[in-house]
Amino acid sequence: MTTDLNITGHISKRYNEELEQIRYLVIEMGELVIKQVEDGLNCLLTSNTELAQQVIDHDKKINQFEIKIDEACTHIIATRQPAASDLRLIICIIKTITDIERIGDEATKLGRNALKIINSEQNPRQFNELKHLGDAVIANLHQAMKAYAALDIETALQVIEQDEQINIEFDNISRLLITKMMEDPREIKNSLRITWCARAFERIGDHGKNICEYVVFLVKGKDVRHISVEQIKQTLKDF
């Protein structure tokens, strides 16, 4: 369900171009951050130190995107005084890139923990669970960026709904790792590092969910943060 929200169509063609350019930059930034998360998971699964270091190094690119898009939004606010859907778009973008930047930070955590785990003597065996969680988070992140690009409320709602499953998955992994730590204290150090990786994935899931909430705000003009999925659905039904 894509929206009929018209991003362009202004009398000023330059304004249309400016908005389109910012929107494209956010999509580009989103693609880069998804690649970072994928690489973060892969370096853990394949014990690839080079890839882990690359994830850490590439975070700067995401930070640069954030600065560039922030500047472009400031320019639009100063020169165009956006209102209505244009204003919601700019607010949505400013908030979205903050979440994308934080996803980048979480991906960096994956890289750092991967380096520590790979360089440790212990060879942890809990990567299967992490792969399952990571794959689910990455799939959700793809959907979140798709919802943003297509202004697709239905996909956004699916992501918001799916995040609850991710949280349950994270709780399951946490319980499993705690059990393992209790069974064999030699596992504690690496199990904690894996827990932090799982936690990073869980946070990435939250940021993806946030992005989808901004998409709902952009399209429907309704702030659906901090309410349950059922309440969001009801709000949109009442709207």
């Binding site: 202004h10 209102a83 209505a84 859907s85």
Partner: protein, 275 residues
Amino acid sequence: MTIKTKSLTDGMEIEHTVGNVFADDPKMSMRNVDVFYNDKQAIKNVSIDLARNQVTALIGPSGCGKSTFLRCLNRMNDTIDICKIKGSLLLDGEDIYHKKMDPVLLRARVGMVFQKPNPFPKSIYDNVAYGPRIHGLAASKDDLDEIVVTSLQKAGLYKEVKDRLSSSGTGLSGGQQQRLCIARTIAVSPEIILMDEPASALDPIATAIIEELIDELKEKYTIAIVTHSMQQAARISQTTAYFHMGSLIEVGSTDHIFTNPSHQLTENYITGRFG
């Protein structure tokens, strides 16, 4: 997305306007107003309340009828022979087009400030004193002095002109002239002030002063303002009404109109998607 609402007070049906046209505490209530210039209909079935002690902004593209509608509110269109007005326009429940209503007295109650400052070619003092004199509002010279000083103070101009009240009003800057016109309007103790693009000919500083003044004036007066500046409407009004080709398309809280308007035409206009 048309919402059909029904007046609680008079049973008249209002069509084609999105949003709530009814104010909780209306100072003026307009219902089903049509305005014709000869056969050409300039205002089509417009119903709206002006909420007491609030600023209502009327926005819309050129020729949409917002100024025509504003001018109906103190019968400024009476002087145009070809202009015919239908519908109900009530000021505190009183029909302003009733044959017993004196338009001169009405305009003292419903004052107006225009786009171009139009001070009389008289002294600053006489500009402000003109209204109170013709309406006999001052019993003595002292009374008149007090009205002039108070009005200039309320209009935020007194400090700038107190030492030259006998100087010509036309010698003031554009922003000062506009505030002089506002002081002249206030001097006859109106209940409502209508403003037709009061700051469009002013620089940003003079505009900011006028906007600040409007914000203060709403404590005592009900204000309706026509403006082409979206940002100005967003800054100073509590309610915004969007006109399009003579129809009132949408009325709502200014916050709502400028963040999430309900009607596509409103959205298009305030985001600059058509001329």
